[in-house]
């Protein structure tokens, strides 16, 4: 076993170099932590998509409406388990500039179709279903505005007007739902479709999209074809996709974020490999005579190899964990902002990002330390002792 004290002493002997190297590693892992968390938050919807859930939108664009009648026709198809519908409602709390998502939904079916995503107390659910002006609030949204059950909240839309000319919908908080997964977005509200459709000015019996579940994911392809064929050549042709594909396509509107994140992180790590690798090689080269002395004292080639490699891994861990700690604080701070939460729901430095980072730390340590460690291991004692 190699003495940890010796490794630490070797690592800390040149403090300016240690600080600069650690800082370079810190920056790379900070970037990895923050960008990785943002990327994961953006893709949480994709990751958490159910295999048997499909989304039906207007073939022209998902911003175009569909008739309410489509829902019953879809529900009647063989292999369809449940179907529901939703309308987009860009929401603001009155007196607040904070924008968040709101959906006008069918209270009888929406939660059933999303039973694996959202958890809500049965009593609260029933109270919401009974009250036409009732609203279900996501846990994070409730925290942001400190809303509680029973609160009467005026909600405005950035798109819709009421028939009386106002933009304010009075709602009563009947329940607060939580996500089934830590990454699940709960920064939105759900209210009654009937309350919405009867009070807004864009006509009646139209919906935004249909969400359905199939009895078996193996039937998805068949049902997708059935739905789209059924409405082909009608005024309201449809495009049906799996929920996963739908969420992916939605994200691609913003560009290939995953590629951008990967490119930035890869560039940072590549630069890091050059900086730290060079620095480690230099540090070991400067210690040639000392390494020869270690060997003279009886340290085996394997022990010398472990000594140098451990130093390199420790350096990567030192900067890496500092960078992750900073990223954790930064991401935590970001996620407190309602605006950020609206764009990146479930933003946090997750366990998987942390474990990936630890893997990269070890890999970085090994890659940057291997060549210097190998050279130290191979050092001829006589040559090393005579080098001054």
């Amino acid at each position: 076993m190699i003495n940890l004290y010796l490794i630490v002493k070797n690592l800390t002997r040149d403090k300016p170099r240690l600080l600069l190297n650690s800082f370079a590693i810190l920056v790379a892992f900070f970037l990895f932590g923050v960008l990785g968390s943002v990327n994961k938050a953006l893709h949480a919807g994709v990751e958490l998509s159910a295999d048997n859930r499909l989304v039906v939108v207007n073939k022209i664009s998902f911003t175009q409406p569909l008739p309410l009648g489509h829902v019953e026709k879809i529900r009647a198809l063989d292999g369809v388990k449940l179907a529901t519908h939703a309308n987009w409602f860009g929401a603001y709390a009155q007196g607040s500039q904070t924008y968040f998502a709101g959906f006008a939904v069918d209270p009888e079916t929406y939660l059933e179709v999303h039973a694996d995503s959202f958890l809500v107390d049965t009593t609260q659910k029933r109270a919401w279903q009974r009250n036409r002006q009732g609203v279900l609030i996501g846990e994070k949204l409730a925290q942001t505005f400190a809303w509680n059950i029973g609160d009467r909240i005026p909600i405005s839309s950035n798109i819709f007007y009421k028939a009386d000319g106002s933009q304010v919908w009075d709602m009563v908080v009947e329940g607060i739902f939580t996500g089934a997964d830590l990454q699940t977005d709960t920064n939105f509200l759900l209210f009654h479709y009937q309350y919405f459709i009867e009070t807004q000015t864009f006509g009646s019996d139209w919906i935004g999209w249909v969400v359905l579940t199939t009895v078996d994911p193996a039937l998805n392809e068949d049902i997708i074809n059935k739905i789209d064929d059924q409405f082909a050549n009608s005024f309201y042709e449809t495009e049906t996709t799996s929920e996963r594909q739908f969420n992916k396509a939605f994200l691609q509107q913003f560009g290939n974020i995953g590629f951008i994140v990967t490119s930035v992180v890869a560039a940072a790590f590549f630069t890091l490999l050059l900086i730290v690798g060079n620095s480690m090689a230099l540090a070991v080269r400067e210690r040639t005579q000392e390494i020869a002395v270690y060997k003279t004292l009886g340290f085996s080639a394997q022990k010398i190899f472990s000594l140098v490699l451990s130093e390199s891994v420790l350096l990567a861990a030192l900067g890496g964990f500092a960078g992750l700690a900073l990223a954790h604080m930064f991401v935590g701070g970001m996620s407190q902002s309602p605006q950020i939460r609206a764009i990146f729901p479930g933003l946090s430095l997750s366990r998987s990002i942390f474990l990936q980072a630890v893997f990269y730390m070890i890999a970085l340590g090994f890659i940057t330390g291997f060549v210097p460690a190998y050279r130290a291991m191979q050092l001829n004692i006589v040559n090393g002792l005579t080098r001054r």
């Binding site: 070797n10 000392e290 002395v293 004292l297 009886g298 080639a301 004692i381 006589v382 002792l385």
Partner: protein, 230 residues
Amino acid sequence: MNDDLFRLHNVHKEFSRGKQKITILDNLCLHIKRGEFITIMGPSGSGKTTLLNMLGGIDKPTHGQLFFQHTDIAQFSESQLAKLRADHVGFIFQFYNLMPMLSAERNVELPLLLKNLSRAERKKRVNAALTLVGLQERAKHYPRELSGGQQQRVAIARAIVTDPDIVLCDEPTGDLDRTTATQIMEMLQTLNREFNKTIIMVTHDPEAAKYSSRQLHLDKGIFTDLETAA
């Protein structure tokens, strides 16, 4: 012959420089008994340090046999030689070769890290070695805070802390003033006489050589006085 610690038989060492072969040691034969204090003298380039390195297992002959306690260590692998050095040999260098980032006691402790010893046991042995060289009160000092003579005493403590059979010294007084050199030589003599350590020392200094029980003279890779090598 049974008390031979080392026996060299036709030990030869040569280097190639281009097509030219340079002989450093020319078929040397030598016996060294346990408990001897030997000095190896000779002009620069005569092969003194190369011979010392071979005795210490940090260099190998081109050919020939080098027996240590009746085992030919010329055939040893690198890892066998590393174990031999850790278990049987202590080294003292001209320029001390202490680790600058370690305190005196941590420098002395280094060879003990290769032994399966508890921290308490290591500390006990380090204290004993530092006491023997009269530097216990400087245990926490770093090499840069010590004089040349003190650094060499730390190096001696490091060399003896594992209780080796042999202490090899390469010009141990070469960087020291006369008074300090005398102190160091008296210390080596004590190790030889009171602790029965076999000491083999390379030196240019005839005053230092006086402390030894046998002097060997090397020139161009051969012993100039054959009787002393026998």
